[in-house]
Symmetry: C2
Subunit: 368 residues, 2 copies
């Protein structure tokens, strides 16, 4: 089998950028009672989304519209843009894959933060790109200034930024993006992942009609809209850039149900507002849980809170594993420095109580 | 924007391998009364699938299992294989994209039939591969002998075969595949697209446990299971080959609803049998319609019938467009030679009657 598969692929390990909670459940031989590890919305999709998906389930014999026309029209209206500024895909994950397909060839360089969303690196590696990283600052923020300077030196095909940031919850204000755009090379694509933008303060998010030839903004229905399992996201950008996606993307990949569900979700502004309010409340509760145990909760502009355990990676790993054994699914970033934090998604009061108990027990066990 | 996007991508046109019926509807300003152009199953998904999808719609806030564990277990049982022989993806389209990502790099060569499923060529081009083709035989069959000979000369990374064939409906028997496997180079992956296998005579389909290091068999829930809009397919192969997909695929891309729907579909063998029987009946009715108008219907081992209009491509184009204007969605292959055929999907008696009337009117109009 020497010559089967491309050389660069044969050298890679077979693994997902994230281990799914179902895999952990099978491994542990028990289901999670509390699922706060994947930044999903326990507050669920809009009832109107659920209704729309159930209603069109019988239509699943038909392929979904490969242009996602109605959804793109609805998104264009929401953002004050044209449909040609928008492309849909199978969540931000799928759209990052598309981006790396159009931007890179084997040997291309891409730039991001050390510890940023692993799926970007996963698809960059699959595309044969070399990934360069810049560490987070000591206060758990992406170092946009250093990233920009490095982009000037490196001239990467893609500079990947997330705002607000995952896995820290921190954010940069809209003006910072303008500075990045002014200073990065014209032939570097700034891929701005705004998965968590709905939870952020207004000052963090540039106006939706900020369109530049080298700026692509990634949005999703997975977080505030509570549709992670329906796989649907979109990119906002310059029409020329958006048109590149149509050269490589799987046009039919967004399911018929997901399209119907997303259109219904956009129409239910009240559900979105309720979710955002619930998340804000949960963030405070999570911060309180952390503080009661003597830990700092990092300020969060997202639907999760990163808790700084202030302990080395090994202790933090033991705590995370212990919490998992106690039936609570949370994540610990894998990267050096960030791996002293636990990333806990906003949940119901019951979820947070269960997490708090598990964390307390895990810490006591470690200290004993 | 000179340096934005990879050079090979900038050179491509922005277009889908297929224009969706919704796009045609918007262009024509009217909805299709009859939808027989995308080889979907008008007989629908199993009621159990519809019920399962509706039931889990509210769970869409959770990502689907990235291992598709339960579904793969069910498929392994169905085929008498192990789960490690199976990988799931967003339909065969998405899995072909994965294949081309793992098998090719820019400059690789792939081989297929001239006029074979365009999505294979689309993703091959996106991967930077050079596509070589071998024409169909005069009796509308893929020329497996010539393809094998050409593979020996060319040593392509992938040889893409479909059996039964789309868009002709013809098939090769299981023994022919053995001959291909014996004769192609060991480092050529034989990608066998079996999307239509459920409709084929038993002699066409090799046993499911025919596993070879360089053989990958593509299956789907889009056709006989009536779940095209749910985007779910799988590949059967050698564990080493299957593991390569995990290096590049979008692990979370198959929706939670689709996984639940597919598991329910596998359990409803009666619905599958009914669909296959309905399709067989419809094929006969479509052949009758063609013969009544003096045209030959090609023998079909699929859920569609290719009607040989025996006219040049230009006349055939006019007929196809006229049928479309009369509210009936069918496809005409784009490639020279095959473009004298119309590809008509199995439908209800009403669908077929409408198609027959539209075809008669279109032919009369052309002759007048």
């Amino acid at each position: 089998m020497t010559g089967l598969f491309d050389e660069r692929i044969r050298a890679l390990a077979s693994e997902s950028p994230f281990t799914g909670p179902e895999t952990l459940e099978r491994r542990n031989g028990q289901a999670f009672a509390t699922r706060l590890g994947a930044n999903e919305s326990v507050f669920g999709p809009s009832p109107k989304t659920i209704e729309a998906m159930a209603r069109v389930a019988a239509d699943s014999w038909m392929y979904g519209d490969p242009e996602q026309f109605e959804l793109r029209e609805a998104l264009a209206e929401k953002h004050g843009l044209a449909a040609k500024n928008i492309i849909c895909g199978v969540g931000i994950d799928g759209l990052l894959r598309d981006l790396l397909s159009v931007a890179c060839a084997p040997g291309s360089r891409v730039l991001t933060s050390l510890g940023a969303y692993p799926t970007f690196g996963y698809f960059a590696t699959a595309a044969g790109a070399a990934i360069e990283t810049v560490p987070y600052t000591a206060d758990f923020r992406q170092n946009w200034q250093r990233l920009t300077e490095r982009a000037q030196e490196l001239r990467p095909k893609v500079l990947y930024l997330t705002n607000p940031d995952n896995p820290t919850g921190s954010y940069h204000d809209a003006g910072s993006l303008q500075t990045v755009l002014a200073d990065v090379p014209d032939d570097t694509i700034v891929a701005l992942d705004e998965a968590y933008c709905d939870f952020a303060p207004a000052e963090a998010i540039p106006p939706a009609d900020l369109v530049r030839p080298n700026l692509l903004r990634f949005r999703t229905f997975s977080k505030a809209y509570g549709m992670a399992g329906a796989r649907i996201g979109y990119v906002i950008g310059d029409p020329y850039a958006i048109a590149q996606f149509d050269k490589v993307r799987d046009h039919f990949a967004v399911t018929r149900l997901s399209q119907a569900g997303a259109i219904a979700a956009l129409a239910d502004v009240d559900h979105l507002k309720r979710t955002i309010a619930e998340v804000a409340k949960a963030r405070e509760q999570l911060a309180q849980v952390a503080e009661n145990l003597g830990f700092a909760a990092l300020p969060s502009a997202t639907n999760f809170v990163a808790i700084d355990l202030g302990k080395g990676g090994e202790d933090c790993r033991k705590i995370a594993e212990d919490i998992e054994r106690r039936g609570v699914f949370v994540r610990r970033p894998a990267t050096e420095f960030l791996n002293r934090t636990l990333r806990v998604t906003a949940g119901t009061a019951t979820d947070i109580e269960r997490f708090g108990k598990a964390l307390r027990s895990a810490v006591n066990r470690l200290d004993s």
